[in-house]
């Protein structure tokens, strides 16, 4: 029998980024007891790295903005495979969620009349992103953290969850270990909110932290929840490419929002070369107009650098592939050119983009106020995730909720910059609210029946297996992780085809074998080798889900680009891919029709075309 310590709460939140903190605050405000577990220290979750801002139609900078425009922008950006109800709730509720942060102490940059300032971002018709320089995520997570710690939430830091536990159909708890001493922990709860973030560590080049291993996706999948839209992985167009040690590190879209331009080695501003039909009417066709837009001219259309991320990333890949890239295999992103247009450009850049200035100066020996940056695409975000009810965020497993990046639906085939932070707040709040309601209406599920205890014993034994395996021809967990990242990067990356993805599936089977034979040295005290070994299971599960979904969608749409099916296909225009675990334990993928959009929203979409 495995030894473990038991904790009990009404609601357990797994993850301490924006969505997890917002959910925990809401649940605790509803009067239930709340526990929170996180893989890292409080306040270090990946939200802290968000730079550009929070998208919300506050209409502080352009009074023409409202929820309808934001809704239409989100749907257009997602190529209309979004869950319309989520996009509607998000657009309507985001402004209140931002104002609420201000009431909790957040300090956003200001307009001249003292209100929250908003900036331009890709795919957003009007300046819409509430921001603090280029460190909005830090402001958001710190505000939520500082507000949350006074609300009596039981926070357990540096805990990894290995499995969720059910009582019959419904959720009953979570079982995991603490990183510090490797001791097992059981968290019993009436409702659980997954807020574990993304999957970036499945790829070699990524802007994500070590802990973005798709734990929530995998945990939910293994207890019978559905995953949706897993083929849609966002490759952010601008990551650092040099030096190698920082390759993939994010360069905020805010650089382009402030007037930054993309050029190839010939000095050509290539984003003007190809503007998608659906954006032609709202995109500038000359440099002069694009610049006027950045200055706030309401009659100007936005520059093509502010097209959606999927499109910009593909244009960059095209330039590099066709030999017009920079010496280190990227393209140029230049903000320093604005000195030709405005006085004190250097000061302006340092004030609006302080982290970028610091990051390039300290790590790349580049002064962005004087010279261009070299950038290229980096794995950034997954639109796919746990399939949830749009209003309550509950998955198909009663009592299991999901919010933020590990949930899916709002973004469709491509996420607009800034919609993630607002997604965390809007759906984090909703998940907390409805998890608390579920907890009030239900009692604790049983854990101690013989079959449950059996699950715990099996999981505990498997978790300790790498210590036993060491030395007997065992695999190095870091090597398995690195090889997996290589395969996903090359075979299921920005440009995909069926042949390469099928071979990736075969490779994944081999990785499962290797993962079962990893060995680690040392003991259970804070042992990164062991932790890496245990994360492989989640990484492999999400990698397989991404690959299977991407094979199933035989078209190019949003973030998915298939060179063997390079066009959009009507057959896939109104379906989502759904991933489930079959009774025999294998992964199944199927297509499911989108919910029908009601007429009043169809009219909004038409009006905004």
């Amino acid at each position: 029998m495995a030894e473990y310590e038991t904790f009990t709460n009404d609601v357990l939140v797994i993850g301490s980024g924006g969505a997890g903190l917002r959910a925990a605050i809401e649940a605790s405000a509803a009067g239930v007891s709340v526990g929170m577990v996180c893989k890292c220290l409080l306040g270090k979750a990946h939200t802290v790295m968000a730079e550009g801002g929070i998208a919300a139609a506050l209409a502080n900078v352009d009074e023409r903005d409202n929820w309808k425009v934001h809704f239409a922008d989100t749907m257009r950006g997602g190529q209309y495979v979004n869950q319309w109800r989520m996009a509607e709730l998000h657009a309507k509720e985001a402004p209140d969620r931002v104002r609420e942060l201000e009431a909790w102490g957040a300090v956003f940059d200001r307009t001249n009349d003292g209100r929250i300032l908003q900036r331009n971002f890709g795919g957003h018709k009007y300046p819409r992103l509430a921001h603090v320089g280029d460190r909005t995520g830090l402001e958001m997570i710190r505000t939520l953290q500082d507000h949350g710690v006074h609300r009596g939430i039981d926070v357990h830091m540096e805990i990894c969850i290995l499995t969720l536990l059910k009582d019959g159909n419904r959720i009953a708890g979570a079982f995991g270990y603490d990183r510090e001493r490797g001791r097992f922990k059981l968290f019993r709860a009436k409702a659980i909110v997954l807020a574990t973030g993304g999957i970036g560590k499945a790829y070699k080049i990524t802007s994500n932290s070590w802990d973005c291993t798709g734990d929530g996706h995998a945990l939910a999948y293994h207890v019978g929840a559905e995953l949706i839209d897993m083929e849609f992985v966002q490759f952010h167009p601008t990551g650092m490419v040099w030096p190698p040690s920082v390759s993939g590190m994010l360069v905020t879209e805010g650089v382009r929002g402030e007037g930054g331009i993309l050029t190839n080695k010939e000095g050509n501003r290539f984003m003007f070369d190809e503007i998608p039909e659906s954006y032609r009417a709202q995109t500038a066709d000359n440099e002069e107009e694009g610049w006027r837009y950045c200055l706030g001219d309401k009659n100007a259309r936005r520059p093509p650098e502010l097209l959606t991320r999927d499109h910009v990333a593909r244009c960059i890949v095209r330039e590099i592939k066709e030999g017009r890239g920079t010496p280190h295999g990227g393209v140029y992103l230049d903000i320093s050119w604005i000195k030709e247009r405005i006085p004190n450009a250097e000061e302006h850049i340092k004030r609006k983009l302080p982290s970028m200035y610091h990051q390039f100066k300290a790590l790349g020996d580049v002064d962005i106020t004087r010279e261009p940056m070299e950038v290229g695409p980096t794995t950034h975000y997954i639109m796919g995730g746990v399939h949830v009810d749009p209003d309550t965020e509950m998955s198909r497993v009663p009592g299991l909720f999901a919010a933020g990046e590990c949930a899916a639906g709002i973004n469709g085939a491509n996420r607009l910059g800034g919609n993630s932070l607002s997604d965390l707040l809007v759906f984090g709040k909703r998940a907390g609210e409805f998890a608390a309601r579920f907890a009030r209406d239900n009692s604790l599920g049983k854990i101690d029946s013989p079959s449950r205890a059996g699950t715990i014993d099996i999981v505990a034994r498997e978790a300790l297996a790498p210590f036993e395996s060491h030395g007997r021809g065992s695999e190095n967990p870091y090597a398995v992780q690195r090889d997996l990242q290589e395969v996903m990067q090359h075979n299921v990356g920005i440009v995909r085809n069926e042949h390469e993805m099928l071979s990736a599936l075969q490779e994944l089977q081999k990785f499962w074998e290797r993962a079962n034979h990893v060995g680690v040295i040392g003991n259970r005290d804070f042992n990164p080798g062991w932790h890496t070994a245990l994360d492989l299971r989640s990484l492999l599960t999400v990698s397989e889900a991404i690959t299977r979904a991407a094979i199933e969608r035989k078209e190019s749409r949003g973030a998915q680009f298939r060179e063997d099916c390079p066009k959009k296909d009507e057959r896939f225009a109104k379906v989502n891919t759904i991933i489930v675990k079959a009774d025999d334990g294998s992964m199944r993928v199927r297509l499911e029709p989108l919910p029908e959009m009601p007429d009043y929203l169809k009219r909004v979409v038409e009006e905004m075309k």
Binding site: K44, E102, A103, V107, P244, S245, I521, D525
Partner: protein, 259 residues
Amino acid sequence: MTETKRATFKIWRGDVNSGKFRDYTTEVAEGMVVLDAIHDIQRTQAPDLACRWNCKAGKCGSCSAEVNGMPKLMCMTRLSDLPIEKPVRVEPMKAFPIIKDLITDVSWNFRVKKKIKPFKPRPPDAPDGTWRMQQHDIDRIEEFRKCIECFLCQDVCHVLRDHQMHDKFIGPRFLIHVAALEMHPLDTEDRIDELRNAQGIGYCNITKCCTKVCPENIEITDNGIIPLKERVVDKFYDPFGWFWRWLKRRQDRQPTNPV
């Protein structure tokens, strides 16, 4: 082609009971930071070498350690800025109890923060529940709010590091946290009594070591701690202020307490 060199790292390995420096040699490529070297060593030589890290971009403040004796974020310390012909010494922060290798128990910091009175805004300025603030009014607290809670300032502060006065002094990190709250244009709370007493601001004798190690270049001492000290002095040690408040208290008391 990138030119590769080799460098030796003296890394502290051990736990609360015992520990010692061990040597590891690894290849050094252009642009590498100390954290890259630690990761290479983990991958190839010491998979159980414990270190915290998250963003590897200087934004989360997890990978704090002491590199050649200086408190640093390992992810922002370029090897090209170190004399790598000599061994590079990497060890955990000293102001906190050791857990293992480069990892310390920083939980005290989270407990301290919980005790600081939270933000308490004035009533909204506009009927829609929002406030108005000018950019120049928030510039100074935006500086403090850049803090990534790496706790390097706590590590280098002699009150905590050498005198271990964790129960009497909250340290530079939380002094600027209080400064950010006290100087917030909307905040109505008063934290001056606690600053003087439980939070021990008097123990800071402005040696500015905290400012020197701050990876966010926050002027912790000049812009945060000294103005707070002035507020404490104004309230408790200014004879004219003291007299004025005494007079005011008397006047306030008079209606309910007629002579």
